[in-house]
Protein backbone atom coordinates (compact mmCIF):
# COMPACT_ATOMS: atom_id res chain seq x y z
CA UNK A 1 0.00 0.00 0.00
CA UNK A 2 1.42 3.40 -0.98
CA UNK A 3 1.57 6.20 1.55
CA UNK A 4 1.80 9.98 1.76
CA UNK A 5 2.63 12.33 4.63
CA UNK A 6 -0.13 14.44 6.14
CA UNK A 7 -0.12 16.97 8.99
CA UNK A 8 -1.88 20.16 10.10
CA UNK A 9 -0.54 23.58 9.31
CA UNK A 10 0.58 25.16 12.59
CA UNK A 11 -0.86 28.69 12.36
CA UNK A 12 -4.12 27.80 10.58
CA UNK A 13 -4.71 24.16 11.50
CA UNK A 14 -5.48 23.36 7.86
CA UNK A 15 -4.94 19.78 6.70
CA UNK A 16 -1.79 19.58 4.57
CA UNK A 17 0.25 17.01 2.62
CA UNK A 18 3.93 16.85 1.75
CA UNK A 19 4.70 17.40 -1.94
CA UNK A 20 8.40 16.61 -1.77
CA UNK A 21 9.27 20.30 -1.68
CA UNK A 22 6.74 21.78 0.69
CA UNK A 23 3.17 21.41 1.97
CA UNK A 24 -0.02 21.47 -0.08
CA UNK A 25 -3.65 21.55 0.97
CA UNK A 26 -4.54 19.15 -1.84
CA UNK A 27 -3.96 15.44 -1.20
CA UNK A 28 -3.77 14.87 -4.95
CA UNK A 29 -0.54 16.88 -5.07
CA UNK A 30 1.20 14.82 -2.41
CA UNK A 31 4.42 12.91 -3.04
CA UNK A 32 4.43 9.17 -2.48
CA UNK A 33 6.57 8.01 0.39
CA UNK A 34 9.50 5.90 -0.76
CA UNK A 35 11.35 5.59 2.54
CA UNK A 36 9.20 5.38 5.68
CA UNK A 37 12.01 6.23 8.08
CA UNK A 38 13.01 9.26 6.03
CA UNK A 39 9.36 10.37 5.84
CA UNK A 40 9.00 10.16 9.59
CA UNK A 41 12.23 12.09 10.07
CA UNK A 42 10.99 14.73 7.65
CA UNK A 43 7.77 15.07 9.63
CA UNK A 44 9.72 15.62 12.80
CA UNK A 45 11.98 18.20 11.15
CA UNK A 46 8.97 20.09 9.80
CA UNK A 47 7.42 20.14 13.27
CA UNK A 48 10.69 21.50 14.62
CA UNK A 49 10.70 24.13 11.89
CA UNK A 50 7.27 25.23 13.21
CA UNK A 51 5.48 24.65 9.93
CA UNK A 52 3.18 21.80 10.89
CA UNK A 53 1.95 19.73 13.80
CA UNK A 54 0.93 16.15 14.18
CA UNK A 55 2.51 14.63 11.01
CA UNK A 56 1.80 11.00 10.14
CA UNK A 57 1.66 8.67 7.18
CA UNK A 58 -1.60 7.62 5.55
CA UNK A 59 -2.46 4.89 3.10
CA UNK A 60 -3.53 5.99 -0.34
CA UNK A 61 -4.57 4.56 -3.66
CA UNK A 62 -4.00 6.16 -7.03
CA UNK A 63 -7.11 7.67 -8.58
CA UNK A 64 -6.52 8.99 -12.08
CA UNK A 65 -2.84 8.65 -11.30
CA UNK A 66 -3.09 10.86 -8.22
CA UNK A 67 -2.99 9.89 -4.55
CA UNK A 68 -6.23 9.72 -2.63
CA UNK A 69 -6.70 8.40 0.93
CA UNK A 70 -8.26 5.00 1.45
CA UNK A 71 -9.44 5.30 5.07
CA UNK A 72 -12.71 7.12 5.45
CA UNK A 73 -11.34 9.37 8.20
CA UNK A 74 -8.65 10.56 5.84
CA UNK A 75 -11.10 11.02 2.98
CA UNK A 76 -13.06 13.35 5.26
CA UNK A 77 -9.87 15.26 6.10
CA UNK A 78 -8.94 15.50 2.42
CA UNK A 79 -12.44 16.59 1.38
CA UNK A 80 -14.35 18.26 4.21
CA UNK A 81 -17.44 17.26 6.17
CA UNK A 82 -19.72 14.89 4.24
CA UNK A 83 -22.67 16.84 5.64
CA UNK A 84 -21.43 20.24 4.41
CA UNK A 85 -20.20 19.69 0.90
CA UNK A 86 -20.26 23.46 0.45
CA UNK A 87 -17.33 23.73 2.88
CA UNK A 88 -13.73 22.61 3.10
CA UNK A 89 -11.40 21.38 0.43
CA UNK A 90 -14.19 19.72 -1.56
CA UNK A 91 -15.63 23.20 -2.15
CA UNK A 92 -12.41 25.14 -2.40
CA UNK A 93 -9.96 23.04 -4.42
Amino acid sequence: MSQIITANDLPTGDVVYWTGAGWTRDAREAALVTDTAAAEALGKAEVKARRVIDPYLIDIELVDGKPWPTRYREIVRASGPSVRTDLGKQAEL
Binding site: L10, G13, P81
Partner: protein
Protein backbone atom coordinates in the same frame (compact mmCIF):
# COMPACT_ATOMS: atom_id res chain seq x y z
CA UNK B 1 -28.44 37.51 34.45
CA UNK B 2 -25.01 37.25 36.04
CA UNK B 3 -22.67 40.13 35.31
CA UNK B 4 -18.93 40.04 35.77
CA UNK B 5 -17.50 41.71 38.81
CA UNK B 6 -13.99 43.18 38.71
CA UNK B 7 -12.46 39.79 39.61
CA UNK B 8 -14.16 37.99 36.75
CA UNK B 9 -13.22 40.72 34.30
CA UNK B 10 -9.60 40.75 35.45
CA UNK B 11 -9.31 36.95 35.31
CA UNK B 12 -10.68 36.72 31.80
CA UNK B 13 -8.71 39.70 30.50
CA UNK B 14 -5.50 38.29 31.97
CA UNK B 15 -6.23 34.99 30.26
CA UNK B 16 -6.55 36.73 26.90
CA UNK B 17 -3.19 38.45 27.31
CA UNK B 18 -1.53 35.25 28.51
CA UNK B 19 -2.88 33.37 25.53
CA UNK B 20 -1.76 36.11 23.13
CA UNK B 21 1.73 35.75 24.50
CA UNK B 22 1.59 31.95 24.40
CA UNK B 23 0.43 31.85 20.79
CA UNK B 24 3.16 34.32 19.78
CA UNK B 25 5.74 32.17 21.52
CA UNK B 26 4.40 29.04 19.87
CA UNK B 27 4.50 30.59 16.42
CA UNK B 28 8.02 31.93 17.03
CA UNK B 29 9.19 28.51 18.16
CA UNK B 30 9.88 29.43 21.75
CA UNK B 31 7.25 26.90 22.82
CA UNK B 32 7.14 23.38 21.40
CA UNK B 33 3.82 21.71 20.60
CA UNK B 34 4.23 19.52 23.69
CA UNK B 35 4.57 22.64 25.82
CA UNK B 36 1.85 24.55 24.05
CA UNK B 37 -0.81 21.85 23.70
CA UNK B 38 -1.99 21.94 27.33
CA UNK B 39 -2.06 25.74 27.18
CA UNK B 40 -4.26 25.85 24.10
CA UNK B 41 -6.53 23.16 25.50
CA UNK B 42 -6.98 25.17 28.71
CA UNK B 43 -8.34 27.87 26.44
CA UNK B 44 -10.68 25.62 24.52
CA UNK B 45 -8.56 25.12 21.37
CA UNK B 46 -8.60 21.52 20.16
CA UNK B 47 -7.16 20.15 16.93
CA UNK B 48 -9.92 18.38 15.02
CA UNK B 49 -10.19 16.77 11.60
CA UNK B 50 -10.23 19.92 9.48
CA UNK B 51 -8.70 22.64 11.64
CA UNK B 52 -8.52 23.87 15.19
CA UNK B 53 -11.84 23.73 16.98
CA UNK B 54 -12.75 26.29 19.63
CA UNK B 55 -15.21 25.40 22.35
CA UNK B 56 -16.70 28.42 24.08
CA UNK B 57 -18.24 28.07 27.54
CA UNK B 58 -21.85 29.05 28.04
CA UNK B 59 -22.11 28.83 31.84
CA UNK B 60 -25.28 26.95 32.75
CA UNK B 61 -26.56 27.52 29.24
CA UNK B 62 -27.57 31.14 29.75
CA UNK B 63 -26.78 33.73 27.10
CA UNK B 64 -27.67 37.38 26.80
CA UNK B 65 -28.70 38.62 23.38
CA UNK B 66 -25.43 40.59 23.29
CA UNK B 67 -23.48 37.42 23.90
CA UNK B 68 -25.38 35.52 21.23
CA UNK B 69 -24.63 38.32 18.78
CA UNK B 70 -20.96 38.06 19.70
CA UNK B 71 -21.10 34.32 19.00
CA UNK B 72 -22.62 35.12 15.60
CA UNK B 73 -19.86 37.65 14.98
CA UNK B 74 -17.19 35.05 15.77
CA UNK B 75 -18.86 32.55 13.44
CA UNK B 76 -18.87 35.14 10.68
CA UNK B 77 -15.48 36.72 11.17
CA UNK B 78 -13.29 33.82 12.22
CA UNK B 79 -15.17 30.68 11.16
CA UNK B 80 -17.34 29.67 8.22
CA UNK B 81 -20.51 31.36 9.32
CA UNK B 82 -21.93 28.86 11.80
CA UNK B 83 -21.44 27.22 15.16
CA UNK B 84 -22.48 23.97 16.79
CA UNK B 85 -24.29 23.87 20.14
CA UNK B 86 -23.23 20.91 22.25
CA UNK B 87 -24.63 18.61 24.90
CA UNK B 88 -22.74 20.62 27.53
CA UNK B 89 -24.73 23.72 26.58
CA UNK B 90 -21.58 25.13 24.95
CA UNK B 91 -20.85 26.21 21.40
CA UNK B 92 -18.08 24.91 19.15
CA UNK B 93 -16.54 26.44 16.06
CA UNK B 94 -15.02 24.01 13.58
CA UNK B 95 -12.73 26.05 11.35
CA UNK B 96 -10.65 28.20 13.66
CA UNK B 97 -7.14 29.45 12.90
CA UNK B 98 -4.74 29.41 15.82
CA UNK B 99 -3.34 32.78 14.82
CA UNK B 100 -6.83 34.29 15.28
CA UNK B 101 -7.18 32.69 18.71
CA UNK B 102 -6.13 35.64 20.90
CA UNK B 103 -8.40 38.06 19.02
CA UNK B 104 -11.33 35.66 19.37
CA UNK B 105 -10.77 35.35 23.10
CA UNK B 106 -10.58 39.16 23.30
CA UNK B 107 -13.88 39.47 21.44
CA UNK B 108 -15.42 36.95 23.83
CA UNK B 109 -14.04 38.75 26.88
CA UNK B 110 -15.68 41.95 25.67
CA UNK B 111 -19.06 40.27 26.24
CA UNK B 112 -18.06 38.46 29.45
CA UNK B 113 -17.36 35.12 27.79
CA UNK B 114 -14.38 32.80 27.52
CA UNK B 115 -13.36 29.24 26.76
CA UNK B 116 -12.14 28.37 30.24
CA UNK B 117 -13.26 25.02 31.69
CA UNK B 118 -14.10 23.60 28.29
CA UNK B 119 -11.18 21.18 28.21
CA UNK B 120 -8.68 19.44 30.44
CA UNK B 121 -8.96 17.55 33.70
CA UNK B 122 -10.71 20.30 35.58
CA UNK B 123 -14.28 20.98 36.65
CA UNK B 124 -16.00 21.69 33.35
CA UNK B 125 -18.74 24.14 32.52
CA UNK B 126 -21.60 23.70 35.00
CA UNK B 127 -24.87 22.73 33.34
CA UNK B 128 -28.45 23.12 34.45
CA UNK B 129 -32.09 23.24 33.43
CA UNK B 130 -32.55 25.37 30.33
CA UNK B 131 -35.88 26.56 31.72
CA UNK B 132 -34.26 27.90 34.92
CA UNK B 133 -35.99 30.94 36.33
CA UNK B 134 -38.94 30.49 34.00
CA UNK B 135 -40.58 27.15 34.65
CA UNK B 136 -43.22 26.48 37.27
CA UNK B 137 -42.48 24.17 40.17
CA UNK B 138 -38.88 25.26 40.59
CA UNK B 139 -37.60 25.25 44.19
CA UNK B 140 -35.25 28.12 43.40
CA UNK B 141 -33.42 29.29 40.28
CA UNK B 142 -30.71 26.61 39.90
CA UNK B 143 -28.41 29.12 38.21
CA UNK B 144 -27.76 30.76 41.58
CA UNK B 145 -26.07 27.61 42.88
CA UNK B 146 -24.56 26.91 39.48
CA UNK B 147 -22.95 30.34 39.63
CA UNK B 148 -21.66 29.63 43.15
CA UNK B 149 -20.07 26.50 41.70
CA UNK B 150 -18.69 28.40 38.74
CA UNK B 151 -16.97 30.98 40.89
CA UNK B 152 -15.61 28.34 43.25
CA UNK B 153 -14.41 25.99 40.51
CA UNK B 154 -12.85 28.46 38.07
CA UNK B 155 -9.07 28.11 38.45
CA UNK B 156 -9.52 26.28 41.76
CA UNK B 157 -5.84 25.44 42.31
CA UNK B 158 -6.56 22.14 44.00
CA UNK B 159 -8.87 20.92 41.26
CA UNK B 160 -7.13 22.08 38.09
CA UNK B 161 -5.33 18.78 37.56
CA UNK B 162 -7.84 16.16 38.57
CA UNK B 163 -7.43 12.51 37.53
CA UNK B 164 -9.91 13.26 34.69
CA UNK B 165 -12.41 15.85 33.55
CA UNK B 166 -15.26 16.49 35.96
CA UNK B 167 -18.84 17.42 35.12
CA UNK B 168 -21.45 18.84 37.49
CA UNK B 169 -25.13 19.43 36.74
CA UNK B 170 -27.80 21.10 38.85
CA UNK B 171 -31.58 20.87 38.75
CA UNK B 172 -34.31 22.41 40.87
CA UNK B 173 -37.47 20.75 39.57
CA UNK B 174 -38.87 17.25 39.80
CA UNK B 175 -38.56 16.95 36.06
CA UNK B 176 -34.87 16.60 35.31
CA UNK B 177 -33.87 18.40 32.12
CA UNK B 178 -30.17 18.49 33.03
CA UNK B 179 -29.46 14.73 33.15
CA UNK B 180 -28.05 15.11 36.66
CA UNK B 181 -27.89 11.38 37.29
CA UNK B 182 -25.42 11.05 34.44
CA UNK B 183 -22.90 13.43 35.96
CA UNK B 184 -19.78 13.12 38.08
CA UNK B 185 -21.73 15.14 40.61
CA UNK B 186 -25.46 15.70 40.26
CA UNK B 187 -27.26 18.18 42.47
CA UNK B 188 -30.99 18.27 43.05
CA UNK B 189 -32.15 21.36 44.87
CA UNK B 190 -34.96 20.58 47.31
CA UNK B 191 -37.09 22.31 49.90
CA UNK B 192 -37.90 20.55 53.20
CA UNK B 193 -41.09 20.69 55.25
CA UNK B 194 -39.73 23.71 57.11
CA UNK B 195 -39.34 25.55 53.82
CA UNK B 196 -35.53 25.41 53.93
CA UNK B 197 -33.41 24.94 50.84
CA UNK B 198 -31.11 21.95 50.71
CA UNK B 199 -29.54 19.55 48.25
CA UNK B 200 -29.67 15.92 47.34
CA UNK B 201 -26.13 15.15 46.25
CA UNK B 202 -25.33 12.39 43.80
CA UNK B 203 -21.93 11.27 42.57
CA UNK B 204 -20.31 8.76 40.30
CA UNK B 205 -22.47 9.05 37.22
CA UNK B 206 -21.07 9.22 33.72
CA UNK B 207 -21.30 7.92 30.18
CA UNK B 208 -18.27 6.99 28.07
CA UNK B 209 -17.04 3.43 27.81
CA UNK B 210 -18.26 2.54 31.33
CA UNK B 211 -21.72 4.06 31.69
CA UNK B 212 -22.92 4.30 35.29
CA UNK B 213 -25.85 6.13 36.85
CA UNK B 214 -24.89 8.29 39.82
CA UNK B 215 -25.55 7.16 43.37
CA UNK B 216 -26.91 9.26 46.19
CA UNK B 217 -24.14 10.41 48.50
CA UNK B 218 -26.39 12.50 50.72
CA UNK B 219 -30.17 12.79 50.71
CA UNK B 220 -30.19 16.20 52.35
CA UNK B 221 -27.40 18.72 52.54
CA UNK B 222 -28.31 22.01 54.18
CA UNK B 223 -27.71 24.98 51.90
CA UNK B 224 -25.15 26.56 54.20
CA UNK B 225 -22.81 23.60 53.68
CA UNK B 226 -23.02 23.41 49.93
CA UNK B 227 -19.45 24.20 48.98
CA UNK B 228 -17.72 22.43 51.87
CA UNK B 229 -19.49 19.21 51.01
CA UNK B 230 -18.80 19.45 47.28
CA UNK B 231 -15.20 20.28 48.10
CA UNK B 232 -15.01 17.17 50.29
CA UNK B 233 -16.22 15.01 47.38
CA UNK B 234 -13.65 16.60 45.09
CA UNK B 235 -10.88 15.97 47.60
CA UNK B 236 -11.78 12.31 48.00
CA UNK B 237 -11.84 11.93 44.24
CA UNK B 238 -8.60 13.84 43.79
CA UNK B 239 -6.88 11.63 46.34
CA UNK B 240 -8.20 8.22 45.33
CA UNK B 241 -9.16 8.66 41.67
CA UNK B 242 -6.93 6.56 39.45
CA UNK B 243 -4.31 8.47 37.55
CA UNK B 244 -2.60 5.32 36.26
CA UNK B 245 -5.30 4.35 33.79
CA UNK B 246 -7.23 6.91 31.75
CA UNK B 247 -10.14 4.48 31.35
CA UNK B 248 -10.51 4.12 35.10
CA UNK B 249 -9.84 7.70 36.11
CA UNK B 250 -13.38 9.10 36.34
CA UNK B 251 -15.09 9.34 39.71
CA UNK B 252 -17.68 6.79 38.58
CA UNK B 253 -15.00 4.08 38.65
CA UNK B 254 -13.88 5.11 42.13
CA UNK B 255 -17.44 5.07 43.49
CA UNK B 256 -18.10 1.78 41.74
CA UNK B 257 -14.89 0.13 42.96
CA UNK B 258 -15.02 1.14 46.62
CA UNK B 259 -18.83 1.16 46.81
CA UNK B 260 -21.12 4.05 47.68
CA UNK B 261 -21.07 3.33 51.44
CA UNK B 262 -17.30 3.53 51.67
CA UNK B 263 -17.25 6.53 49.36
CA UNK B 264 -19.83 8.27 51.53
CA UNK B 265 -17.78 7.47 54.66
CA UNK B 266 -14.71 8.98 53.07
CA UNK B 267 -16.60 12.09 52.01
CA UNK B 268 -18.20 12.60 55.41
CA UNK B 269 -14.80 12.22 57.12
CA UNK B 270 -13.19 14.62 54.67
CA UNK B 271 -16.05 17.03 55.16
CA UNK B 272 -15.18 17.30 58.84
CA UNK B 273 -11.72 18.39 57.73
CA UNK B 274 -13.08 20.93 55.28
CA UNK B 275 -15.71 22.46 57.55
CA UNK B 276 -13.25 24.36 59.79
CA UNK B 277 -11.70 26.00 56.71
CA UNK B 278 -14.84 28.10 56.33
CA UNK B 279 -15.07 27.56 52.60
CA UNK B 280 -18.86 27.71 52.75
CA UNK B 281 -20.46 30.72 51.15
CA UNK B 282 -22.11 33.11 53.59
CA UNK B 283 -25.82 33.61 53.08
CA UNK B 284 -25.19 37.26 52.22
CA UNK B 285 -22.95 36.22 49.32
CA UNK B 286 -25.55 33.75 48.06
CA UNK B 287 -28.09 36.55 48.24
CA UNK B 288 -25.74 38.84 46.30
CA UNK B 289 -25.40 36.22 43.56
CA UNK B 290 -29.14 35.51 43.65
CA UNK B 291 -29.79 39.18 42.95
CA UNK B 292 -28.26 38.71 39.50
CA UNK B 293 -30.99 36.21 38.76
CA UNK B 294 -33.85 38.38 39.91
CA UNK B 295 -36.76 37.69 37.56
CA UNK B 296 -37.32 40.33 34.89
CA UNK B 297 -40.15 42.82 35.22
CA UNK B 298 -43.04 40.61 34.12
CA UNK B 299 -46.34 42.30 33.38
CA UNK B 300 -49.48 41.25 35.15
CA UNK B 301 -51.48 39.38 32.55
CA UNK B 302 -54.69 37.50 33.15
CA UNK B 303 -55.08 34.63 30.69
CA UNK B 304 -56.68 33.65 28.44
CA UNK B 305 -54.97 36.06 26.08
CA UNK B 306 -57.44 36.68 23.29
CA UNK B 307 -54.86 37.35 20.55
CA UNK B 308 -53.05 34.12 21.38
CA UNK B 309 -56.24 32.07 21.46
CA UNK B 310 -57.30 33.53 18.13
CA UNK B 311 -53.91 32.76 16.55
CA UNK B 312 -54.10 29.18 17.78
CA UNK B 313 -57.50 28.78 16.15
CA UNK B 314 -56.59 30.50 12.92
CA UNK B 315 -53.21 28.95 12.30
CA UNK B 316 -52.91 25.16 12.71
CA UNK B 317 -49.15 25.17 11.99
CA UNK B 318 -48.69 27.64 14.83
CA UNK B 319 -50.91 25.56 17.08
CA UNK B 320 -48.78 22.47 16.38
CA UNK B 321 -45.63 24.39 17.26
CA UNK B 322 -47.16 25.67 20.48
CA UNK B 323 -48.33 22.19 21.42
CA UNK B 324 -44.86 20.77 20.98
CA UNK B 325 -42.27 23.50 21.52
CA UNK B 326 -43.90 25.76 24.07
CA UNK B 327 -44.22 24.98 27.76
CA UNK B 328 -45.98 26.79 30.55
CA UNK B 329 -44.23 29.64 32.29
CA UNK B 330 -44.44 30.21 36.01
CA UNK B 331 -45.90 33.65 35.36
CA UNK B 332 -49.43 33.74 33.92
CA UNK B 333 -49.56 35.14 30.39
CA UNK B 334 -45.98 34.10 29.56
CA UNK B 335 -44.52 31.03 27.89
CA UNK B 336 -41.20 29.28 27.33
CA UNK B 337 -40.42 28.63 23.67
CA UNK B 338 -37.97 26.02 22.43
CA UNK B 339 -36.25 26.97 19.18
CA UNK B 340 -35.56 23.75 17.32
CA UNK B 341 -32.08 23.48 15.86
CA UNK B 342 -33.27 20.21 14.32
CA UNK B 343 -34.86 21.10 11.02
CA UNK B 344 -35.78 17.82 9.38
CA UNK B 345 -32.68 16.71 7.51
CA UNK B 346 -30.52 19.44 9.05
CA UNK B 347 -27.46 19.13 11.27
CA UNK B 348 -28.49 18.83 14.92
CA UNK B 349 -27.26 21.77 16.97
CA UNK B 350 -25.87 23.85 14.12
CA UNK B 351 -26.91 27.49 13.83
CA UNK B 352 -25.76 30.02 11.28
CA UNK B 353 -24.51 33.46 12.24
CA UNK B 354 -27.61 34.98 10.65
CA UNK B 355 -29.88 32.70 12.66
CA UNK B 356 -28.03 33.59 15.87
CA UNK B 357 -28.39 37.29 15.13
CA UNK B 358 -32.08 36.93 14.38
CA UNK B 359 -32.66 34.96 17.58
CA UNK B 360 -30.76 37.61 19.55
CA UNK B 361 -33.08 40.23 18.07
CA UNK B 362 -36.11 38.14 19.02
CA UNK B 363 -34.74 37.79 22.55
CA UNK B 364 -34.39 41.55 22.82
CA UNK B 365 -37.81 42.22 21.46
CA UNK B 366 -39.74 39.46 23.20
CA UNK B 367 -37.73 37.70 25.95
CA UNK B 368 -35.94 40.29 28.05
CA UNK B 369 -32.74 39.69 26.06
CA UNK B 370 -32.46 36.18 27.51
CA UNK B 371 -31.58 33.05 25.49
CA UNK B 372 -30.81 29.54 26.71
CA UNK B 373 -28.89 26.63 25.25
CA UNK B 374 -30.27 23.16 25.98
CA UNK B 375 -28.21 20.02 26.43
CA UNK B 376 -30.42 18.59 23.70
CA UNK B 377 -28.80 21.07 21.30
CA UNK B 378 -31.68 23.49 20.93
CA UNK B 379 -32.13 27.10 22.00
CA UNK B 380 -34.84 28.59 24.19
CA UNK B 381 -36.54 31.95 24.57
CA UNK B 382 -37.51 31.67 28.24
CA UNK B 383 -39.87 34.58 28.79
CA UNK B 384 -42.24 35.26 25.89
CA UNK B 385 -45.65 36.87 26.40
CA UNK B 386 -48.41 34.65 25.04
CA UNK B 387 -49.59 37.62 23.03
CA UNK B 388 -46.20 37.75 21.26
CA UNK B 389 -45.82 34.05 20.56
CA UNK B 390 -47.31 34.18 17.09
CA UNK B 391 -44.96 36.97 16.01
CA UNK B 392 -42.01 35.07 17.46
CA UNK B 393 -43.06 31.90 15.66
CA UNK B 394 -43.45 33.72 12.33
CA UNK B 395 -39.88 34.97 12.59
CA UNK B 396 -38.63 31.52 13.59
CA UNK B 397 -40.36 30.06 10.54
CA UNK B 398 -38.64 32.67 8.38
CA UNK B 399 -35.19 31.72 9.69
CA UNK B 400 -36.01 28.00 9.55
CA UNK B 401 -35.83 27.13 13.23
CA UNK B 402 -39.51 26.54 13.89
CA UNK B 403 -39.77 22.79 13.37
CA UNK B 404 -42.45 21.67 15.85
CA UNK B 405 -40.48 18.62 16.95
CA UNK B 406 -39.24 19.20 20.52
CA UNK B 407 -38.92 15.77 22.12
CA UNK B 408 -40.06 13.95 18.97
CA UNK B 409 -38.24 11.43 16.83
CA UNK B 410 -36.47 14.08 14.73
CA UNK B 411 -35.25 16.05 17.77
CA UNK B 412 -32.10 13.95 17.78
CA UNK B 413 -28.95 14.56 19.77
CA UNK B 414 -25.96 13.85 17.55
CA UNK B 415 -22.30 14.51 18.28
CA UNK B 416 -20.08 15.88 15.48
CA UNK B 417 -18.81 12.34 14.77
CA UNK B 418 -16.50 11.52 11.90
CA UNK B 419 -17.47 14.61 9.94
CA UNK B 420 -15.47 16.74 12.36
CA UNK B 421 -14.12 14.84 15.34
CA UNK B 422 -10.68 13.35 15.39
CA UNK B 423 -11.65 10.65 17.89
CA UNK B 424 -14.64 9.41 15.90
CA UNK B 425 -15.12 5.90 14.57
CA UNK B 426 -18.17 6.72 12.49
CA UNK B 427 -20.33 9.58 11.35
CA UNK B 428 -23.24 10.61 13.56
CA UNK B 429 -24.81 13.54 11.74
CA UNK B 430 -25.82 11.71 8.52
CA UNK B 431 -27.55 9.04 10.59
CA UNK B 432 -29.52 11.73 12.42
CA UNK B 433 -30.39 13.32 9.09
CA UNK B 434 -31.47 10.04 7.52
CA UNK B 435 -33.68 9.15 10.49
CA UNK B 436 -35.22 12.63 10.52
CA UNK B 437 -35.86 12.40 6.77
CA UNK B 438 -37.40 8.95 7.11
CA UNK B 439 -39.83 10.37 9.67
CA UNK B 440 -40.21 13.73 7.94
CA UNK B 441 -43.99 13.51 8.15
CA UNK B 442 -44.74 15.50 11.30
CA UNK B 443 -48.13 13.85 11.69
CA UNK B 444 -46.33 10.54 11.97
CA UNK B 445 -43.85 12.02 14.46
CA UNK B 446 -46.69 13.32 16.60
CA UNK B 447 -48.35 9.95 16.54
CA UNK B 448 -45.14 8.31 17.74
CA UNK B 449 -44.89 10.85 20.55
CA UNK B 450 -41.95 11.47 22.82
CA UNK B 451 -38.93 9.58 21.60
CA UNK B 452 -35.35 10.50 22.39
CA UNK B 453 -32.82 9.27 19.87
CA UNK B 454 -29.21 9.98 20.76
CA UNK B 455 -26.21 9.25 18.56
CA UNK B 456 -22.50 9.13 19.35
CA UNK B 457 -19.67 8.64 16.85
CA UNK B 458 -17.51 6.79 19.36
CA UNK B 459 -17.53 5.27 22.81
CA UNK B 460 -16.85 8.65 24.44
CA UNK B 461 -20.62 9.15 24.22
CA UNK B 462 -20.75 12.92 23.70
CA UNK B 463 -24.06 12.21 21.94
CA UNK B 464 -25.44 10.60 25.15
CA UNK B 465 -26.39 7.37 23.36
CA UNK B 466 -26.47 5.46 26.67
CA UNK B 467 -29.33 7.72 27.75
CA UNK B 468 -31.32 7.48 24.51
CA UNK B 469 -34.71 5.81 24.42
CA UNK B 470 -33.04 4.62 21.24
CA UNK B 471 -29.28 5.02 21.48
CA UNK B 472 -26.98 4.65 18.49
CA UNK B 473 -23.24 4.15 18.78
CA UNK B 474 -20.99 4.37 15.75
CA UNK B 475 -18.16 1.85 15.68
CA UNK B 476 -15.45 0.99 13.19
CA UNK B 477 -15.84 -2.57 11.91
CA UNK B 478 -12.83 -3.41 9.80
CA UNK B 479 -12.68 0.08 8.38
CA UNK B 480 -16.42 0.34 7.74
CA UNK B 481 -18.84 2.47 9.75
CA UNK B 482 -21.17 0.31 11.79
CA UNK B 483 -23.93 1.29 14.18
CA UNK B 484 -25.03 -0.47 17.36
CA UNK B 485 -28.47 0.14 18.80
CA UNK B 486 -29.35 0.21 22.48
CA UNK B 487 -32.83 0.63 23.90
CA UNK B 488 -34.36 1.88 27.11
CA UNK B 489 -31.95 4.60 28.17
CA UNK B 490 -33.11 7.81 29.76
CA UNK B 491 -31.42 11.02 30.79
CA UNK B 492 -34.43 12.34 32.67
CA UNK B 493 -35.59 11.88 36.27
CA UNK B 494 -36.29 8.23 35.42
CA UNK B 495 -32.65 7.78 34.36
CA UNK B 496 -31.69 4.41 32.99
CA UNK B 497 -28.93 2.85 30.95
CA UNK B 498 -29.81 1.65 27.47
CA UNK B 499 -29.20 -2.01 26.64
CA UNK B 500 -27.53 -3.18 23.48
CA UNK B 501 -29.97 -5.23 21.44
CA UNK B 502 -27.59 -7.14 19.18
CA UNK B 503 -25.21 -6.91 16.23
CA UNK B 504 -24.77 -3.54 14.53
CA UNK B 505 -25.93 -2.27 11.16
CA UNK B 506 -24.50 -0.32 8.29
CA UNK B 507 -25.66 3.26 7.74
CA UNK B 508 -28.75 2.35 5.71
CA UNK B 509 -29.53 -0.65 7.90
CA UNK B 510 -29.60 1.35 11.11
CA UNK B 511 -32.29 3.66 9.77
CA UNK B 512 -34.39 0.68 8.71
CA UNK B 513 -33.87 -0.88 12.13
CA UNK B 514 -34.99 2.29 13.90
CA UNK B 515 -38.12 2.33 11.78
CA UNK B 516 -38.87 -1.30 12.62
CA UNK B 517 -38.41 -0.59 16.33
CA UNK B 518 -40.78 2.32 16.14
CA UNK B 519 -43.37 0.40 14.16
CA UNK B 520 -43.17 -2.40 16.73
CA UNK B 521 -43.82 0.13 19.46
CA UNK B 522 -46.81 1.52 17.59
CA UNK B 523 -48.21 -1.96 17.20
CA UNK B 524 -47.96 -2.95 20.86
CA UNK B 525 -48.18 0.27 22.83
CA UNK B 526 -50.93 0.79 25.33
CA UNK B 527 -52.89 3.97 25.82
CA UNK B 528 -50.65 6.86 26.87
CA UNK B 529 -47.39 4.92 26.68
CA UNK B 530 -44.25 6.52 25.31
CA UNK B 531 -41.76 4.34 23.44
CA UNK B 532 -39.72 4.11 26.64
CA UNK B 533 -42.74 3.04 28.70
CA UNK B 534 -43.62 0.28 26.27
CA UNK B 535 -40.02 -0.91 26.23
CA UNK B 536 -39.96 -1.01 30.01
CA UNK B 537 -43.22 -2.92 30.11
CA UNK B 538 -42.45 -5.57 27.51
CA UNK B 539 -38.63 -5.73 27.58
CA UNK B 540 -36.23 -6.05 24.69
CA UNK B 541 -37.44 -9.32 23.15
CA UNK B 542 -40.30 -8.07 20.94
CA UNK B 543 -38.07 -5.30 19.67
CA UNK B 544 -35.21 -7.69 18.95
CA UNK B 545 -37.60 -9.90 17.01
CA UNK B 546 -38.81 -6.90 15.04
CA UNK B 547 -35.28 -6.04 14.00
CA UNK B 548 -33.50 -9.37 13.73
CA UNK B 549 -36.46 -11.64 12.99
Amino acid sequence: MYQYDSFDAAIVQTRVEQFRDQVARRLSGELSEEQFRPLRLMNGFYLQLHAYMLRVAVPYGTLSSTQLRALAHIARKYDKGYGHFTTRQNIQYNWIRLEDGPDILADLAAVEMHAIQTSGNCIRNITTDQFAGAVAGEVVDPRIWSEVLRQWSTFHPEFSFLPRKFKIAVTATEQDRAAVQWHDIGIEILKNAAGEIGFKVLAGGGMGRTPIIAKVVREWLPAEHFLSYIEAIMRVYNRYGRRDNIYKARIKILVHEIGIEKFREEVEAEWQQVLPTHIDVPAAEVARIAAYFTPPAFETIVPPVAAHEAALKADPAFAHWVARNVVAHKVPGYAIATISLKPVGGIPGDASADQMDAIADLADQYSFGDVRVTHEQNLVLPHVRLADLHAVWRKLVEIEVATPNAGLVSDIIACPGLDYCTLANARSIPIAQDIANRFADLERQRDIGELKIKISGCINACGHHHAGHIGILGVDRKGVENYQISLGGSGAEDASLGELIGPGFNDAGVVDAVEKLIEKYRAIRQEGERFLDTYRRVGAQPFKEAVYG
